[in-house]
């Protein structure tokens, strides 16, 4: 396993919920990342974020790691959930909230 993949494995298992995004939750740098942040905020869960714009190795590496071509990307308990379109579809169907509940993810403070 490459060094980048090892770093990514650690990131997605160290946090229950982690969003790879462009920018930060307070200052998203892309409309899709902004939408992903809004969805997680609506779900009311605690999450960590990784700003891929600050780390080109992660930015390229996460696409291969997840076999997914775009950012943002959401991981819950080490499992890839999807990008912002899938997050929105799941949120609207109540499936994202259900998944976060089932995985017993901590609530946001």
């Amino acid at each position: 396993m490459s060094e980048t993949n090892a770093r990514l494995s650690k990131i997605v298992t160290d946090s229950d919920v982690v969003l790879f995004m462009k920018g930060t939750p307070l200052f998203p740098q892309c409309g899709f990342s902004s939408r992903a942040v809004a969805i997680l905020d609506h779900c009311g869960v605690a999450y960590d974020s990784v700003d891929v714009l600050q780390d080109s190795e992660i930015r390229q590496g996460i696409k291969a790691f997840s076999d997914w071509p775009t950012i943002p990307q959401l991981y819950v308990k080490g499992e890839f959930v999807g990008g912002s379109d899938i997050m929105m579809e799941m949120y609207e169907a109540g499936e994202l909230q259900q998944l976060l509940n089932e995985k017993q993810v901590a609530r946001a403070n």
């Binding site: 696409k63 997914w68 071509p69 990008g83 379109d85 899938i86």
Partner: protein
């Protein structure tokens, strides 16, 4: 380089011949699109798998020349 909507639809239809493809140019700039793809080929597949089938159809353009493509996939009723 922006991509014309017709080209996006043609690539998707080439890979998923039975698909119904609707493309909207969200910002009118030829660069921000929404695609609704309905195909029987999605039956029994997870959302991630369905989206990957469309991304595969676009042959590596997603995340590159096609930055802003909002995607919705569904199975016909």
């Amino acid at each position: 380089m922006p991509m014309p909507a017709a080209e996006i639809a043609a690539l998707i239809r080439a890979a998923l011949p039975e698909a119904e493809v609707v493309i909207e140019d969200l910002a009118g700039d030829g660069d921000h699109y929404l695609a609704r793809v309905t195909s029987p080929a999605f039956a029994g597949k997870s959302r991630v798998q369905q989206h990957k089938m469309v991304y595969d159809a676009l042959g590596g353009r997603m995340g590159g020349e096609l930055h802003a493509l909002q995607l919705t996939t569904s199975v016909p009723n």
